[in-house]
């Protein structure tokens, strides 16, 4: 079964990600539906424990603003690990729209991004999204990446006060 890094430990990941343009009946397993599908069908999708929504990098989290409190699972896609739009989207989801559920990074990310991703509000990471090198083996404890720095200058999701207010 695919794995998920969540709350600093590795757990089974039974969630499916339904592709953009998905139509038809939902699978029996928990799943993330694409934003457009959600917006068109949300009245039939009110099962927050097993239905989440995923956004692509060019999509507007604003479109979910009214639904955030009825959702427990959101995911943001990284088309490539060099595409940093998801960092901004995550902060908006957490800080502006006050989402408190699970926020998952999907798509393509690398382990050295885990620290920044978690600072921006992600708390779950699909391991198949993590590019771990040619052998796809895990070389270091993933939690070490999450704790790469003990000092941060800026305010962010996991630290509301910038360093200059904490010095």
């Amino acid at each position: 079964m695919p794995k998920l890094l969540k709350d600093k430990s590795i757990v089974d990941n039974s969630w499916q990600i339904l592709p953009k343009g998905f139509a038809g009946a939902l699978p029996d397993t928990p799943c993330f539906v694409p934003l457009d599908y959600w917006l068109a069908n949300k009245q039939n999708l009110q099962k927050p424990e097993s239905i989440g929504v995923w956004l692509d990098a060019e999509q507007e989290p604003e479109e979910l603003a009214d639904d955030i409190e009825n959702l427990q699972h959101l995911a943001v896609n990284f088309p490539t690990f060099m595409d940093g739009r998801g960092f901004s989207i995550a902060r908006l989801i957490r800080e502006r729209y006050k989402f408190t559920g699970e926020l998952r990074a999907i798509g393509h990310i690398v382990p050295d991004q885990l620290f920044y991703l978690s600072r921006c509000g992600f708390d779950a990471f699909c391991l198949d999204a993590l590019s771990l090198g040619d052998e796809a083996e895990q070389h270091h404890q993933l939690e070490d990446y999450l704790a790469a720095f003990s000092v941060t200058y800026q305010a962010c999701v996991n630290q509301e006060q910038p360093l200059f207010r904490r010095r």
């Binding site: 902060r91 050295d112 000092v151 200058y153």
Partner: protein, 554 residues
């Protein structure tokens, strides 16, 4: 200067450890090239034509004698005994070994230096006015604000994977020496009618393939909102800047596509939602930042007596007078001055220094200028706080060391990128062209008669040599494997910023000195008493230059 506290030291130490682990993984084959690439870039390491190149930040151009000595040691121990000052006030090593870079970064960290975000698609080292805090036309010292921006941008988790590199420059003076109009964000510190400090904010300036002059999107941003406003600009850019084509990914392209008005409105809308968040600056943090940039312990100097002595010396020794006129700058404190150490002697690549020169500069700084040195974006150094009475002695010392070329601001005080000799992006060499120009124009009286002329040379359209904003700009181009040079006239990076216009078809390298001679002869013929090259060009346009040069060439 800013002094690291425990937080800064911990962060930089953790950064070195992180990069050492990344390098080890890469060298052990556990990390692919494309994954290692942005990680090494964000620590300053490029892979260049002949060897890796390491760019070390000199935040807003301020460097201490201690740091210069550490740099000297590093160039000796890990490189070939020299380094290169860049047009963004940084310093580069041309020959480090990839596997030794973690050790270099550790040595740098020991003297509070680093290469964090000195390249890559992220917020780069913030630059400023080399005369910050000492010039006579200053409204506010920009350096405390630069330091606040430096800390905010360092390892910013949201903006480490931007569409493209992002450069911020800050000036606090009436005349802009920080080229804020050709930066992604240019900030001008000013005071409003109520004597409150704030910023005029420009966005979308830049050189490179599509050069553009920055446009104002905020005429007065109260100082405490600096970081929330910058964050709004960066967020809009991060989300909407183009990522499909790296040549169209800079913020200038987005600003142009949307118009400055639309961009400003989008930023305003974003900013108003975060205004007054905890990132709003407090009086305490502003005061704390300013505490690092107070005046040094100036002595009281008998300025009149010193001035009389200098006048006498200038009368006896014309060379001293010329040096003083070109290389010495007025200071806000009576009895003091700022002194350029020229890094443009003929035959040396502009901005290059050896290990022993770095140490000699550190010694000069200790002896004459409170142990601090400033790097200029024209690739020279400045001793910022020199007593007038020390000038004769300093002149002698600088002459002996090769730093007294009395040509600051003249044609031969060129900005020049490393070019095809070093850089893997370059289409053409730039250093040999610079040297040929220096050799041709070796008559100081002629150079002084020409007055202030900015000549900027880039080896490719990425424009590290700022050719678009040279009064005369030279751009290396490649045509079917041969190197040619295009000439542009009329650029400026000062308050009256403008982009140069192409003169016409390009030339061979060996033709450039002759072509320059002809350009300058047109200027000398056509100038009205006291008129600069730039003003003459603005009055008469490119046509007279073009007609003369291409008629002769035909």
């Amino acid at each position: 200067m800013y002094i690291y506290d425990q937080h800064d030291k911990t962060l930089i130490g953790e950064r070195v450890a992180q990069y050492r682990r990344q390098t080890d993984d890469y060298l052990a084959g556990k990390m692919r090239d494309e994954v290692f690439l942005p990680l090494r870039l964000q620590n300053g390491l490029y892979v260049q034509r002949l060897a890796p190149m390491l760019r070390i930040n000199i935040p807003y151009g301020m460097v201490s004698a201690t740091q210069l000595r550490a740099l000297a040691h590093i160039t000796r121990q890990y490189d070939k005994g020299y380094a290169h000052f860049t047009t963004r006030q940084n310093i580069q090593l041309n020959w480090p070994q990839l596997e030794e870079v973690p050790d270099i970064l550790a040595e740098l960290a020991a003297v509070e230096m680093q290469g964090i975000q000195s390249s890559g698609s992220c917020i780069r080292n913030v630059t400023s006015d080399e005369f910050a805090g000492i010039n006579t036309d200053e409204i506010e010292d920009p350096r405390p604000w630069c330091e606040i921006i430096r800390q905010w941008s360092t390892l910013h988790p949201e903006f480490a994977f931007l569409p493209r590199k992002f450069k911020i420059s800050v000036t606090g003076a009436e005349s802009d020496r920080a080229a804020i109009q050709v930066h992604d964000i240019g900030l001008q510190v000013l005071r409003n009618a109520n004597d409150e400090v704030g910023f005029k904010v420009l966005v979308g300036g830049g050189l490179g393939r599509s050069p553009a002059i920055g446009q104002a999107i905020k005429d007065f941003l109260p100082a405490k909102h600096l970081l929330t406003y910058l964050e709004a600009i960066l967020r809009v850019y991060n989300r909407y800047g183009r990522r499909d084509n790296k040549y169209k990914a800079r913020i200038k392209i987005l600003v142009k596509a949307w118009t400055a008005e639309v961009f400003a409105a989008k930023v305003e809308q974003e900013w108003l939602q975060e205004i007054d968040s905890p990132s709003t600056l407090t009086d305490e943090v502003i005061a704390h930042a300013k505490d690092f940039f107070t005046s040094p312990a100036y002595e009281s100097v008998d300025a009149e007596h010193a001035e009389a002595t200098l006048q006498n010396l200038a009368a006896e020794q014309i060379a001293f007078g010329k040096w003083r006129e070109r290389n010495v700058i007025a200071h806000k404190v009576a009895g003091y001055c700022a002194v350029h150490l020229s890094l443009k002697p003929t035959g040396v690549a502009p901005g290059d220094v050896t290990d022993s020169q770095l140490e000699a500069i550190a010694n000069l700084a200790d002896r004459y200028s409170f142990s601090e040195v400033r790097v200029t974006h024209h690739q020279n150094l400045v001793l910022g706080d020199v007593k007038l009475s020390d000038l004769p002695e300093l002149w002698q010392a600088a002459k002996k060391l090769g730093f007294a070329t009395p040509s600051i601001g003249t044609l031969v005080d060129m900005i020049c990128c490393p070019g095809g000799d070093f850089c893997s992006l370059a289409n053409a060499k730039s250093i040999p062209v610079a040297e040929a120009i220096q050799r041709r124009f070796d008559d100081l009286d002629y150079l002084y008669d020409l007055g202030d002329i900015k000549l900027n040379i880039s080896g490719c359209m990425n424009a590290c040599g700022h050719h678009h904003v040279g009064n005369i700009g030279i751009l290396g181009v490649d045509k079917k494997g041969e190197e040619f040079y295009q000439i542009q006239l009329g650029g400026s990076a000062l308050d009256d910023a403008s982009l140069g216009k192409v003169l016409g078809p390009s030339f061979y390298a060996h033709e450039i000195p002759d072509v320059l001679e002809r350009i300058l002869s047109i200027y000398v013929d056509q100038r009205i008493e006291g008129e600069s090259f730039l003003d003459t060009h603005r009055r008469i346009g490119t046509a007279p230059f073009k007609e003369y040069i291409y008629a002769k060439a035909a």
